[in-house]
Amino acid sequence: MSGKRLGAILVGALLLASCRGGDGAAPQEGAGGIKVDAGVTKEACPNAVDKSKGCIYLGTISDLTEGPFKTLAVPITDSQKAFWKRVNDKGGIGGYEIDVTKYVKDNKYNPQIHNQVYQEIKGNILALTQTLGSPTTVAILPDLEKTPMVSVPASWTSLWGHEEVVLESGANYCVESMNTVDYAAEKMGVKSVMAVHLAGDYGDDAAAGAKIAAEKRGLTFENVTTQSGQDNQGGAIDAVVSKKPDLVILTTGPTDAAVIIGQAAARGFKGKFIGTSPTWNPGLLKSPAAPAIKALYMQSAPWKAWNTESVGHTAMRAALPGVTPNDGYTAGWVWAYPLKAALEKAASNKDLTRAGVLAAVRQLTSVDYEGMLPSGAGNFSASPQDALFRQSTLYKPDDAAPTGVTLVEDFFTGSTAKDFKFEKPCYQ
């Protein structure tokens, strides 16, 4: 091929560049004089309640088939679908309805897949109503910031407190563990603490919080990393049984937790276990470990369980008739509130562009969680230190409760978390 011909083709190609479909749309005037860009259409949503309204598309990237969090991810996704349907039934936002069904993708809990599916849908959505997992979300974080794309995490790591585009809700694992240790020290007289956790932001964050609280109170502290898998808990069990701490802070999966609690108890361990919410699954109450779990285990949680009486909880149960109760639903529902508030704020600012939504987020001094979180929660305008939500709750196993747990301690902040200077993610 002659150089001339090649050159001609390259020039042609460069000219074609202008034909290439853009990833972002230029801002334009939408319904009701609201400025919009990507992810917002004049056409109605596919399943619109009111066909005359436009549509705001929100994306969901979750762990829907093979990954380790499928049993939480599926209810979270379904719950948010119900949440936004309720918003639409009540008239939508600023003349628009919200669709969360068209751009749902499975990340298999793999950062690379997460990024790929995000790239696929990012041109068509205004924001992400769910991005599950933190290594996965970190993989798209630079892009989220650059776009800017406001997103709702499905995880409680303390990293999110420092990310402007991420709309976290409730106490993070770090704070939750501080509160747990404070509670155990004060109410149960615990003198020694061991954190048994999976490696990574989830477990490391909780272990970091537990360590901070234990050191502040002068308790002995042990750190034990384990790996997921029922046959992989031998080392953790050995550590628990031989060191005999008064309290074990668990951050693992449910079956891992059941194995550790059950076997440690079988080998004579008498101390207490308190696990973060992902350690719990109602199915554990039917497992061989159930007696040990009932005797030794408590669950810490960032908010209250499925059957709580609050406006939000009641609305959620009404919106999800016939489902097996699961606190994945509760989590999905709670997480959606700040995005709703931001969209409403942006609509009232007449700017539903991506930049407009981010600007609206910065104006949120509090979010109305309809009683699912205490008033004052959801401050996105202040510095991370000031905005950090520091209250959590404690539950214990209960066969009678729909999700297998009943409340022991309502929202509280321990002294450690209250004074804690939140300058960087705890696990770093």
Binding site: T65, E66, T71, Q227, Q230, G234, D238, T255, N281, L284
Partner: protein, 295 residues
């Protein structure tokens, strides 16, 4: 000493699970020269099936039914998916088994649902005093069951017609064919046996806490086991599986005190380290045979 004995028995217990899995791998390998990566899926499917059946037909009944059903499923997979591949390169076939694993596992996952499922075994976490140490009953059951299964398998291969046929095929396919042995049936039967063994192993794994969709990962522990024992040796598979379990358990108990620099949870990869060491000395595993090359 109690600690050691307990650790040892736990290791033998989980090791017997690995042995069951390893037996399945080796049975398929001996007859078809293929490593079946579909074993993890069959294992998960077995455990899930038992969790559905045991309330209706009792635990033991459920295990028997599930082992048979999974065996039939494996046989069906062999007949439909693997049969066209007879004589094709073994690694291509191995990749096909990965495809099978994905399909079976995803469908099985759909039946796990949101809650951890229980297999309903009678032992729970009850312990019994064994030579002065408190050990869990279920570990003793696992060890005993594996022993019975192993003896039964050996008897099957030694005395039954079809078992002899399987050995003949493993020894030399062409000669077996010339002797009028249906090599196809042997392939199918080996898959069925391996499927049943995997189902049994899956149930045992689930006795502690229940069935979730990550259960399948346990099956990978059988890989160092079969290499340790030697790919062609059934006895080697059993010994290899037990060795992996014991090494894992003892490392879990003592490594933190004696060799913390190896990092936390080194016990979980210790079988691989052991495997490498063994192969440095014996490139064909502990019980494998060195082939004599002919020109």
């Amino acid at each position: 000493m109690d600690e050691f004995l307990q650790s040892l028995i736990r290791g033998l217990g989980t090791g017997s699970i690995y042995s069951l899995l390893a037996l399945g791998f080796v049975i398929i390998y001996k007859s078809t020269q293929v490593i079946s990566f579909a074993q993890p899926a069959f294992m998960l499917a077995g455990a899930v099936l038992v969790s559905y059946l045991s309330p209706a037909v009792s635990f033991v009944g459920a295990v028997l039914v599930a082992a048979v059903v999974i065996a039939v499923l494996a046989l069906g997979v062999e007949r439909t998916v693997l049969r066209p591949m007879v004589g094709k390169p073994v690694f291509v076939v191995a990749i096909i088994t990965i495809g099978v694993d994905v399909v079976v596992r995803v469908v099985t996952n759909a039946f796990i649902g949101l809650d951890v499922r229980q297999v309903g075994d009678p032992w729970g976490l009850n312990t019994v005093n064994f030579l002065g140490a408190e050990v869990q009953q279920r570990y003793l059951v696992m060890i005993a069951t594996t022993a019975v299964v192993t003896v039964a398998l050996f008897a099957f291969f030694r005395y039954s017609r079809i078992g002899l046929a399987m050995r003949a095929v493993a020894y030399d396919q062409e000669v077996a064919l010339a002797q009028g042995i249906s090599v196809g049936s042997v392939f199918a039967l080996s898959w069925a046996l391996a499927g049943g063994l995997a189902a049994l192993a899956g149930v045992f794994v689930a006795t502690g806490a229940g069935v979730d969709q990550q259960l399948w990962i346990v099956a990978l522990k059988a890989l160092p086991a079969i290499i340790l024992g030697g790919l062609e040796s059934l006895g080697g598979a059993v010994v290899g599986g037990l060795a992996v379990g014991v090494v894992e358990s003892l490392f879990g108990t003592y490594q933190g005190d004696f060799a913390p620099w190896l990092g936390s949870n080194f016990g979980l990869v210790a079988p691989y380290a052991l495997m490498l060491l063994v192969l440095l000395v014996r490139p064909y595993g502990l019980f494998g045979k060195k082939e004599v090359e002919r020109l």
